[in-house]
Symmetry: C2
Amino acid sequence: MGRGTPRSERRADALSRERIVEAAVELLDGAGEGGLTFRALTERLATGPGAVYWHVANKGELLGAATDALVAAALAVEPAGSSGSPQDGIRAVALGLFDAIDAHPWLATQLATHLSRSPLGSVTPRILESIGRQVRALGVPEGSRFTATSTLVHYILGAAGQNAANAGTHRPDMDRAEFLDAVSRAWEQLDPDDYPFIRDVAREMRDHDDRVEFLAGVDLILTGIIAAHLPPSGRDLRN
Amino acid sequence: MGRGTPRSERRADALSRERIVEAAVELLDGAGEGGLTFRALTERLATGPGAVYWHVANKGELLGAATDALVAAALAVEPAGSSGSPQDGIRAVALGLFDAIDAHPWLATQLATHLSRSPLGSVTPRILESIGRQVRALGVPEGSRFTATSTLVHYILGAAGQNAANAGTHRPDMDRAEFLDAVSRAWEQLDPDDYPFIRDVAREMRDHDDRVEFLAGVDLILTGIIAAHLPPSGRDLRN
DNA sequence: ACCTGAACACCGTTCAAGT
DNA sequence: ACCTGAACACCGTTCAAGT
């Protein structure tokens, strides 16, 4: 280290907004939504509540900062449409968000609750931009881009959210296969007069793959966008 | 009142699960998510917490019951595919849920958080059944119905949820038009290098209609379902 | 069977006081 | 400028006691 320069280096364990957000994410990942309390947070950081409040305004802002950090990381994987078709770009962004929500299920509620609640934040623009850019590259005409983009985003957040909630159902004594099996069996026992459709698809849902199903939905919407907005000559259905 | 018969009539203001759920909905509608507390609930019902706990197991069950009641009511509007095309049936169900979430914004979080968390409850099957029946009527082949249906449901819940969150942003001093205007202006000031797409659609979003936009998304997915699964000869694009 | 209400453990947030 | 930690108002839930 260069001598003389009055570095404002603090003790290695000094508090910072970053360190606080990092600890918050760990608590949320470890114990879910309810795991983040100022008691648990201050214990982990070996400090008092006042110290935390010096760096963040309140719990809501802390949750927002944690969400922001993870969404930014999830969207950073693809270096802005580097290669591949727009379809692949959209699938990549969608999967990035899907996996992020899968790894941090509390993100689902956060995105559903506060995403639009603060559209002036950076999360909403970031997501819209990632998808919208690819929609434009797809050749969707100007007046239809907003609808196409927000349809995709709503689906992605909705599906990923439902999925995370499903994952959260895991009781320790029950793995995923058992869980799906239980749901499937419960559905098969519904009144056939009231729930004919559910009974028909009960088996189908027993051994479905979440990621595959999620991507199939994305592709269905892509098909709709292409069919609705692109001249038949310009379509390449193999992409 | 017939004399002699030992009716088990209680005082007119007797507590019941129904009355409790009703009061809970009123509190949630009036003051949002945070408005439902056992303190406020027992005050409104002129009773103590113990009385409420006699009828419901805990706050989560109470929220679930409130959600269940409203979703059932929202889906009851259409008497099971009475008339019209399957497309219209799907639009009707979608709008029913959209309007329910719009009228009770707290439903969005509830549906996102606990819908899949308790797929054994009645809410998930109810929604899937309503949409799935129409998807079948549309002529979608057996193996594709689950994907088509859950894509629609994920979109509907995602879009309606985002929308409710937007509605929740309303500050009393700012009506909807002002709010959209503020968002639009904020978006127009983003860095054009980082957010080219957002800037392009900023104007488009200033005067969009939520319901119209929502239905356009439903139609986009319907177009995709038809294009992907129905033989061209069987399609009637005017529906 | 149904209701009362005091009590418990916990929560987010504040703030005078320290360094 | 940054941190401490006691204190405050509030929360969901329990439970012995009543009717």
